[in-house]
């Protein structure tokens, strides 16, 4: 099988190393340009099953703000990002929201939870 070189930028940390990945079909033969070994994991993952952390907001009733920020507990498959956003849009929470509350369990059957990023106290409360 022929070898191919793919260019990627590692986004695991702010350094953003430019990676050159040699692949043969689906298999990663070699990764270059990475400054640490997390770059290799990134390259392998990015080519097989690219994933991203998703952060967005969900509506809240009766809170100090009309929205609560939420995040995926771990990165979700890239092609499912917009499906996830659609799911989140369907929801409305009721204040108070607590930091770490599970907003959606096992979203889209990925096994990943969507969690609240912060407290949203109810309008009269303070925190």
């Amino acid at each position: 099988m022929t070898q191919e070189q793919k260019k990627l930028i590692c986004i695991t940390c702010p350094r953003g190393c430019a990676l050159v990945v040699t692949v043969e079909g689906e298999t990663v033969i070699k990764t270059e340009g990475n400054s640490c070994k997390r770059g290799v994991d990134y390259a392998t993952g990015e080519l097989k099953d690219p994933r991203r952390m998703v952060t967005t907001t969900v509506r809240v009733k009766g809170g100090v703000h009309p929205l609560a920020p939420v995040y995926t507990e771990s990165p979700i498959p890239k092609p499912r990002i917009f499906d996830l956003l659609a799911e989140v849009r369907k929801i409305e929470l009721t204040a108070p929201v607590k930091f770490g509350d599970v907003v959606i369990e096992n979203v889209l059957g990925t096994g990943i939870n969507v969690l609240a990023s912060r407290n949203i106290p109810a309008k009269s409360e303070t925190s």
Binding site: R52, M53, T57, P66, I81, F99, R118
Partner: protein, 424 residues
């Protein structure tokens, strides 16, 4: 309940201010107060709902609000006072702070040490001189970030973003998530000004085109932005004729840089560095005014919040130490005041314990000449502490008097001494 005087007052409750307050309290400052203009703690982090915060401090990839929440929770356990919805209006070099707030109205507070942690603000259209009409639909990226992430409304449907800084790129993705179209990100420089990872995960991932060496030539539209005209820039930063392109859009976001917020620092007489736009600081984060410290984006613009927290901790520790030392001296110092026919007295302040070592020389000038024998008298209210005879006094000739060691006990009772020159 607010106290009249604090060990440490912190202005601004972003990551810098929160870290400073926490560390000041832990270092042993007794009363610590945080003054924040917004209705909640956390500063700009509350609108930065994306992840990428805290990799160094917590070895975890946190969102902005989560990063802030950790410090807010820690602060809550430490009995630090907070005054929210409160604007610090003015600060003097003597650390007298003027604040107005919803809950307490207008108040004046004193503090032994002050921490400036007001963060930064965004450059606006006025600061980059954008030609064209002045329609609605031009926002700074940070303002739009606040609308979308906290207040819950979209400032437009179809965007052009000027500037490839992190806030601009992060907003490009965010707006895409909320169903808007981001037509273009324009960058006047020949390189990306934000992090490469944000280029990948905010622009490339969603096919948002970035054009380097491009800027906005003019804004088109009367009531509302209808389009912008972009233009390519040559190596000498000059627009290249013939490269103009009209890009239809209803909103233009500006992500063209941050400037430290130093109105208050200026009022306090803190010397500013024209390069950073922030105060000159020493290794303790103390400014040119003794007892006034600064940390975070108010000093220089950081790209990682972890460093902001580090600076806040350092600043808080030193501010607390300064306050603790000042507190020890509080009851030990007497102010020297000019009484009848005296213009001023040097020293202005006297350490009471100095008399245990030796007599102390007081020097002054009189306001009016008296060509007759006089007493130079040091008074604690109505009680005379010491006096000395002179044959005459004249404004042109300095008057000296020794405060003798025998005055030690009398001075201990005083909080203020005055000197007067009266006829014998």
């Amino acid at each position: 309940m607010l106290k009249k005087k604090y060990d440490v007052i912190v202005i601004g409750a972003g990551p810098a201010g929160l870290a400073a307050a926490i560390e000041a309290k832990k270092t042993g400052a007794q009363d610590v107060l945080v003054i924040e203009r917004a209705q909640e703690l956390g500063g700009i982090l509350q609108q930065c709902i994306h992840n990428g915060f805290g990799l160094q401090t917590f070895k975890k990839d946190l969102t902005g609000p989560t990063y802030a929440q950790r410090f807010i929770d820690e602060l809550a356990g430490l009995h630090v006072d907070t005054l929210l919805d409160a604007m610090a209006l003015n600060v003097t070099s003597e650390r007298h702070v003027y604040v107005t707030s919803q809950s307490s109205g207008f108040v004046e507070l004193d503090t032994r040490a002050l921490v400036l942690a007001m963060g930064c603000r965004e450059r606006t259209r006025a600061q980059i001189a954008l030609p064209g009409t002045r329609p609605a639909g031009v926002y700074t990226a940070g303002t739009a970030q606040r609308f979308v992430n906290i207040e819950g409304f979209m400032p437009g449907k179809c965007f052009v973003i000027l500037g490839s800084g992190d806030i601009g790129m992060i907003m490009a993705r965010r707006l895409t998530f909320e169903g808007a179209k981001v037509e273009r990100v324009l960058e006047i420089m020949p390189f990306l000004t934000g992090l490469t990872r944000n280029y990948v995960q905010c622009l490339l991932d969603y096919d948002i085109p970035l054009q380097l060496h491009h800027t906005v030539k003019r804004i088109i539209g009367n009531d509302r932005v209808e389009a912008i005209e972009s233009v390519q820039i040559d190596e000498h930063r000059q627009p290249m004729p013939g490269t103009e392109e009209t890009i239809p859009c209803d909103t233009l976001l500006l992500s063209v840089g941050l400037i430290p917020e130093n109105e208050l620092s200026r009022k306090a007489g803190v010397a500013l560095d024209p390069v950073t736009g922030g105060p000159f600081v020493d290794e303790e984060m103390q400014t040119s005014v003794p007892g006034i410290f600064a940390a975070g984006n108010v000093v220089h613009v950081y790209d990682l919040v972890d460093w902001v927290t580090q600076a806040g901790l350092l600043c808080g520790r030193n501010a607390a130490q300064y306050a603790i030392t000042a507190r020890k001296h509080d009851g030990r110092r007497v102010r020297m005041k000019a009484g009848e026919n005296v213009r001023y007295v040097i020293p202005h302040i006297l350490d009471k314990e100095s008399l245990a070592e030796s007599a102390q020389l007081l020097q002054m000038r009189v306001t009016l000449p008296i060509e007759a024998p006089v007493w130079v008298e040091v008074m604690n209210g109505e009680e005379r502490v010491t006096r000395k005879a002179e044959l005459y006094v004249r404004p042109g000739e300095m008057v000296n008097i020794d405060l003798p060691q025998s005055a030690y006990d009398a001075v201990q009772r005083a909080s203020e001494l005055s000197v007067r020159v009266v006829r014998r």
